[in-house]
Assembly symmetry: C2
Homo-oligomer: 483 residues x 2
């Protein structure tokens, strides 16, 4: 095993990284990379809105807290409506609409906060003076990309995916709608004809959904950069996309050269459990336990839904160390057919997702297809949870594939972040599709030109034939007449 | 740095690999991987045609020499015509035709050899009994893919690329003709409108060129497997494609999840030079030397062409240890502006390719674009060679990017080969596009259906409007009449 890149590390020791994270669970993943960059000798400044609830100071990085024109309460109020909506069963279109609206509500006040940063002359001067080598950011908010553009610094994106597949559009990644399910379509990569029709329709709609969803991003971008620059244009200049998925739970699909899969980066390290959880885990008999989580955003659940779940470790408010619970130690009892830890392969239990909002529905569809089980009715959830757990073997197999990789995802993420610093970008990975407009990209001008040529040739040929035929006929008629 | 996969190596220790190489320079690259697999504890059997000139026995692998219905002389005779053709300047279409014809001539007699293997019952029985875990092969010949199919063993392909981009077609890799140059088009990734027209035309032609080029492969495949199976169908079942290029000298373009770049694998290890070369290298003054090579296939060159080159280390017949000559030791004198070794970055000199046949022309185009120099006139070659060498800085920069990688290409190749053995394929990387036909893949049925719906709605709306208008008019006329 030779490590070509270790020898080059010296080149970026003391690299300066500006980190512009998104708040909430997004930061919890990014923090892992940020801390590792610190351990490898980089200097890091994290831009934090004063309302943030999870981005705290650390010895690993400096923070720059900036004032925003809204309170924490105003921000989280946006989620109250979400909690009302998510447990109600509604049509897919309504759900899509709710998601887009929630995203607009939640991000538009943060975009105002971002504008405060850009207008804060003293902060901007201070940031400019720092001469950063790199902006590391979650593109779910537009601030960082504008800063990177203004300061002419290369950007590395760290994300799971963007609403309406804006990431795929911005990176010019081909997504044939015949087998790549559109965002929120609920389709898998194997579709019936009607499914392909809806997938095509949703793919057609995607640019318009994006336009609607990111309108306030576009407004901000066009105010601070060249006129008519959209957020998608801006995103397309990112050097490397670090994507928090891999193909064990993602439909296999084309990738671009500057897309790097770092799936599992947030499952990397295990810490000891807090005393109360440790006691619980070691306590209740032989049957192990089930982890139940609704993510980090929801705080309430209707009582009748709640009653459907029992004998379960609840966690629907606050943060639960789920990775530590899923650690490789044989903590879960193995006599039950329900949850059996396979220590040697490092899989203990599988989370069964209960889709509520955002990309959760698409995630559950991927998991369901990969696990050969189907669970789409909320009411049947508890029953099917048992059914689902019986698919342990498939889980073990997928886990083995997921964990079998040449380099750990955290090291991969660090490598590409440092690569961009070492080479001031990753120009050799940028496709020239970015320099083409929509018509050129799809060769519509060329096809039009070829059709015109073809029609002209056809027209001339037909005319010639007609002319010759007529001449022959006339000649024949004249001959007959003279005879 | 954590190495997740090292822990899993035990699973495939003693893996059994059937290697079906292509003869000539292709084998020289593959041998590096084969030897490394041996060092990692795998048992290897290499299938060798009795006419092979470069595949010799080794302590690293067993060989199974099979009889073929042609002599070495008959095989190499095919290249005599090539030597006559390549130094003659001809049109691109003539060159393409010559290339295809050369390929057909050269491979069709080897396909006969392959058929001998498939008909050799005792050899087939022996091979079947071995119960291989994997077929490692160069898909430039069809034998291995048929064997893999017959024995139901996963396949790993090891290649630089196939004529008419058959590899991209077989792996379902999208190649938008607006920025991905078609095979042998001579285009780069940035094209003018006329270049895009020729690129589109050549992309359209590609499937027909492939059909013509691989007709004898298709015949063989359909004789031994299910009727109407083509070689492309068969290739599409490959688990992983190990591609001997990276994006320092390849146009950035979409990739598929099961494509792995191992560019530079054939530059990995340096050996001491033979005494005569060592003496030459250390000999002639301060100006260093230039390596001149026409690849491993050509043996003759017209005298007037030959005269254009001087002060050059000749090598146009036989094998030259060019990697060892380009080694990281400060063997090349550094006082000249022409060839200066940059030892710390491990670049010593750049080969300036003189395109003759096969993919060489496309290769030179890539290099020329990446180096910002242009050399397309053979007659100007010597002059431009000097010009070209002045682009040392750019070479150093590209070399640094090329060498800056998370894992060495040989280790990457070994990892994916062993991955396929460990998991009996790489099913999670296989796109479901393979299960769609051409019409479905391009959603032509869906588009047709949507157009019919649209036309029907339009038709019904127009009819309704007409009906209403008529009714109103009649009503008006009747009213006027009664008045």
């Amino acid at each position: 095993m030779h490590f070509a890149w270790l020898c080059c590390l010296g080149l970026v020791q003391g690299g300066k990284v500006l980190v512009v994270p998104a708040d909430g669970s997004h930061w919890l993943s990014m923090k892992i990379l940020v801390k590792e960059l610190y351990h490898r000798g980089h200097e890091i400044l994290v831009l934090v809105p004063e309302t943030s609830s999870v981005i705290h100071g650390s010895e690993s990085y400096k923070t720059e807290v900036y004032p925003v024109p809204y309170t924490k309460e105003e921000l989280y109020q946006k989620f109250d409506r979400l909690e009302d909506d998510v447990f109600r069963k509604s049509s897919r279109m309504t759900e899509l609409h709710n998601n887009v609206q929630l995203f607009i509500d939640y991000t538009s006040i943060q975009v105002n906060g971002c504008e405060r940063v850009l207008n804060n002359q003293s902060l901007m001067t201070r940031l400019r003076k720092e001469v950063f080598d790199l902006v590391l950011t979650d593109p779910v908010l537009p601030c960082s990309s504008i800063l990177a553009n203004v300061f002419s610094i290369p950007t590395v994106y760290f994300l799971r995916g963007l609403l309406c597949d804006l990431d795929l559009q911005a990176s010019q990644c081909p997504s044939p709608p015949s087998y790549v399910p559109a965002y929120f379509s609920g389709n898998t990569d194997i579709m019936t004809f009607p499914q392909r029709v809806t997938n095509m329709a949703m793919s057609f709609m995607q640019p318009y959904v994006c336009k609607m969803t990111f309108r306030h991003f576009d407004d901000l971008v066009s105010r601070y950069l060249e006129n008519k620059t959209t957020y998608k244009d801006l995103l397309s200049h990112g050097a490397v996309w670090l994507l928090r998925y891999d193909f064990t739970f993602e439909w296999p699909r084309p990738l671009m050269p500057n897309m790097v899969s770092i799936g599992g980066i947030n499952c990397a390290k295990k810490a000891p459990l807090p005393a109360d959880l440790e006691e619980f885990v070691n306590g209740p008999g032989e049957d192990g336990f089930i982890i139940f989580t609704l993510g980090s955003m929801l705080h309430n659940m209707p009582e009748e839904k709640a009653k459907q779940f029992f004998d379960v470790l609840w966690r629907y408010t606050g943060w639960l160390p789920q990775n530590d619970l899923l650690g490789p130690t044989p903590r879960l009892k193995s006599s039950s057919p329900m949850v059996e830890p396979t220590v040697s392969t490092r899989v203990s239990v599988m989370l069964c997702p209960f889709p509520l909002f955002g990309d959760q529905l698409d995630n559950v569809h991927r998991m369901v297809r990969n696990m050969d089980v189907y669970l789409n009715e909320y009411s049947l959830f508890t029953l099917q949870l048992w059914y689902f757990l019986s698919y342990k073997e498939k889980v073990v197999e997928l886990s083995q594939v997921h964990l079998d990789r040449p380099v750990e995802p955290l090291d991969t993420a660090v490598f590409w972040t440092e690569f961009v610093m070492r080479h001031k970008g990753a120009a050799h990975l940028r496709v020239s599709a970015h320099d083409l407009n929509w018509i050129q990209y799809h060769s519509l001008d060329v096809i039009g030109f070829l059709i015109i040529i073809l029609l002209t040739v056809l027209f001339v040929t037909v005319k010639c034939c007609l002319f010759c035929t007529r001449k022959c006929c006339r000649h024949g008629a004249a001959k007959r007449k003279s005879e």
